[in-house]
Amino acid sequence: MRKMLTIISNVLRASTKKNGARVVVSSRSYADFTPQASFDIKGCDLHRLEEGPAQQAVLTREEGLQYYRTLQMMRRMELKADQLYKQKIIRGFCHLYDGQEACAVGIEAGINPTDHLITAYRAHGYTLTRGGTVREIMAELTGRRGGIAKGKGGSMHMYTKNFYGGNGIVGAQVPLGAGVALACKYQGRNELCVTLYGDGAANQGQIFETYNMASLWKLPCIFICENNKYGMGTSVERAAASTDYYKRGDFIPGLRVDGMDVLCVREATKFAADHCRAGKGPILMELQTYRYHGHSMSDPGVSYRTREEIQEVRSKSDPISMLKERMLSNNMTNVEELKEIDVEVRKEIEDAAQFATTDPEPPLEELCNHLFSNDQPLEVRGTHPWTKLKSVS
């Protein structure tokens, strides 16, 4: 008994000492960690540009930790959505963003919160970077009243301030984005609009119509093609006569960027934003990126590409691993600190998932609401003439 007590007390003392030591190490470590470092980043291929973004990026410790947290949050959120979908708690369409996180995080780091952004249906990551919380995103996926669109939009129709969705029709968001940019210019507010589309959408006619008008009218629009190499099940080689998406804007200057490196994306976005804010008109960025999941949850994603290819990207180019290695090898953080962040992220995701699965569905009384803005209440026909439903703005 005594022996056991000794052992127990020893263990406790040791762990206290360890905890104590850890606390001391942490507080000591803020002085110890490198506050910022400069990294060489891949150069960009240029189209109609004399020079591109700098090939060096400065990353502060705070920035690095913040990017890491957001990247990880996005990754875990999408994986949780995968889980909930397989449990049939999320239904319909679900297009996951894991693998592409560096694009969303890098872009947000390169613009201001007062700037605007619009994308297509692979939008959960952007909803997060543009101010949505994981809770309200997940609850929207599960169709609950606490969802960011009160359960009425679903995966493809999430909105926040200065974020215009979430758009289901391939390519339609591009003219919309140019329209937002027009509004920015019209109101003289030195804001710009980031307008995203995929390699599949890049062949859409309305995008070329938009390039034309955005150029003619010098709209402050950053067109961004997220090239993840596959438009649903069709590889870029099978869909596009020219896969140099950064050149497809023809008269619009373009750059091709490593979309797996958050710093590359950030620097390119800053460069593009400067271009727009200087009144030079639109600019086009192609982000070379990759999605780990299939096109959507209905697509296993392995009939048109090999598991080896997916695995290779995961091991060699994962955006989270890349940032982690950079920070660790430059002593900007340590494994424990990152693990702490992982734990916090995991907890937030679990809480959000819990909320998303327990929050009640939207009330039927609100079925017909939100047809019109700022309008009188009106009567809406139900499924038969005897049902008269009420609609309020």
Partner: protein
């Protein structure tokens, strides 16, 4: 100011009224104005009133408008507010919707609504549905306007009526004015509305002058969206129409009145939301219903009116089946004799009224 204008015009108008084939009584305090000028005035007043309003479309600026509806506006307001677009409907309609989402109040002109089919995804999926999908977070205050329906000799691809297509969709308001007061009051309301509005004009009506009451001459004159107007009261039969055919119905009514048949002619003014109550009240009085439209019969505006009447209280008051007078169910031909016989004529309305009344 209005009075001075009236005084100067009434003399000129008295002569003009006699010389023109179609004229309406002129009084001292009112004024004759074509539908085109009424639309122009509506846009001018709203552009002046609110800086966020702007007009875009093909030829709207330097050409003064393909049909001269926007004449003088570019000269007055400049490049920023009146924007000539390339011939890329899907692109510029999407740009209009995006601008509306970001806080502006665009008027997007389609040279004719036939070309709106190139952009219809932006009208329906990006404009109409967004407020609902976002659960009220994202309003879309955009107006799509332009000529709709048959013109004269422009053949099949340029003559379709889109009232039924757009009227089908929740989230849109769809307006179809007939005369100058309708045009001005409803366009002003459409521009002030915070929601996507499809405003269906008629090219053949642009040049037709109508009396504008003193009230209608005011800069704040608006007509509420969603209310129909009884243009001519009557006891024997309800005749419901929209746009150009309201005029045809009134002419038919004048002819029928000589035979002692009094038609109550209702001008829908708004296709969606449709003012069923006004139609029901009328049918419950007259017990007979004929609808008149330029569009094709199947799944059309008249079909919807008949269905709504069937399902509502007015059905029990019908003494005969409600019938529709519509365009002929064919693509619009070119030759004049064929074209004339592809759209409702006054004799078709008279025939249908008499058949319904069994006289």
């Amino acid at each position: 100011m209005a009075l001075l204008r009236c005084a100067l015009r009434s003399g000129k108008d008295a002569v003009g009224a006699i010389l023109r084939r179609e004229f309406h009584k002129t009084s001292a305090a009112s004024l004759q104005m074509t539908v085109r000028d009424a639309l122009n005035q509506a846009m001018d007043e709203e552009l002046e009133r609110d800086e966020l309003v702007f007009l875009l479309g093909e030829e709207v600026a330097q050409y003064d408008g393909a049909y001269k509806v926007s004449r003088g506006l570019w000269k007055k307001y400049g490049d920023k507010r009146i924007v000539d677009t390339p011939i890329t409907e899907m692109g510029f309609a999407g740009i209009a919707v995006g601008a509306a989402m970001a806080g502006l109040r665009p008027i997007c002109e389609f040279m004719t609504f036939n070309f709106s089919m190139q952009a219809i995804d932006q009208v329906i999926n990006s404009a109409a549905k967004t407020y609902y999908m976002s659960a009220g977070l994202q309003p879309v205050p955009v107006v799509f306007r332009g000529p709709n329906g048959a013109s004269a000799g422009v053949a099949a691809q340029h003559s379709q009526c889109f009232a039924a297509w757009y009227g089908h969709c929740p989230g849109l308001k769809v307006i179809s004015p007939w005369n100058s007061e309708d045009a001005k009051g409803l366009l002003k309301s459409a521009i002030r509305d915070d929601n996507p509005v499809v405003f269906l004009e008629n090219e053949l009506m642009y040049g037709v002058p109508f009396e504008m009451s003193e009230e209608a001459q005011s800069k704040d004159f608006t007509i509420p969206i969603g209310k129909a107007k009884v243009e001519r009261p009557g006891d024997h039969i309800t005749v419901v129409s929209h746009s150009r055919y309201v005029g045809h119905c009134l002419e038919a009514a004048a002819i029928l009145a000589k035979e002692g048949i009094e038609c109550e002619v209702i001008n829908l003014r708004t296709i969606r939301p449709m003012d069923v109550e006004t139609i029901e009240t009328s049918v419950m009085k007259t017990n007979h219903l004929v609808t008149v439209e330029g569009g094709w019969p199947q799944f059309g505006v008249g079909a919807e009116i008949c269905a709504m009447i069937m399902e509502g209280p007015a059905f029990n008051y019908l003494d005969a089946p409600a019938v529709r007078v519509t365009g002929v169910d064919i693509p619009m031909p070119y030759a004049k004799i064929l074209e004339d016989n592809s759209v409702p004529q006054i004799k078709d309305i008279i025939f249908s009224v008499k058949k319904t009344l069994n006289v």
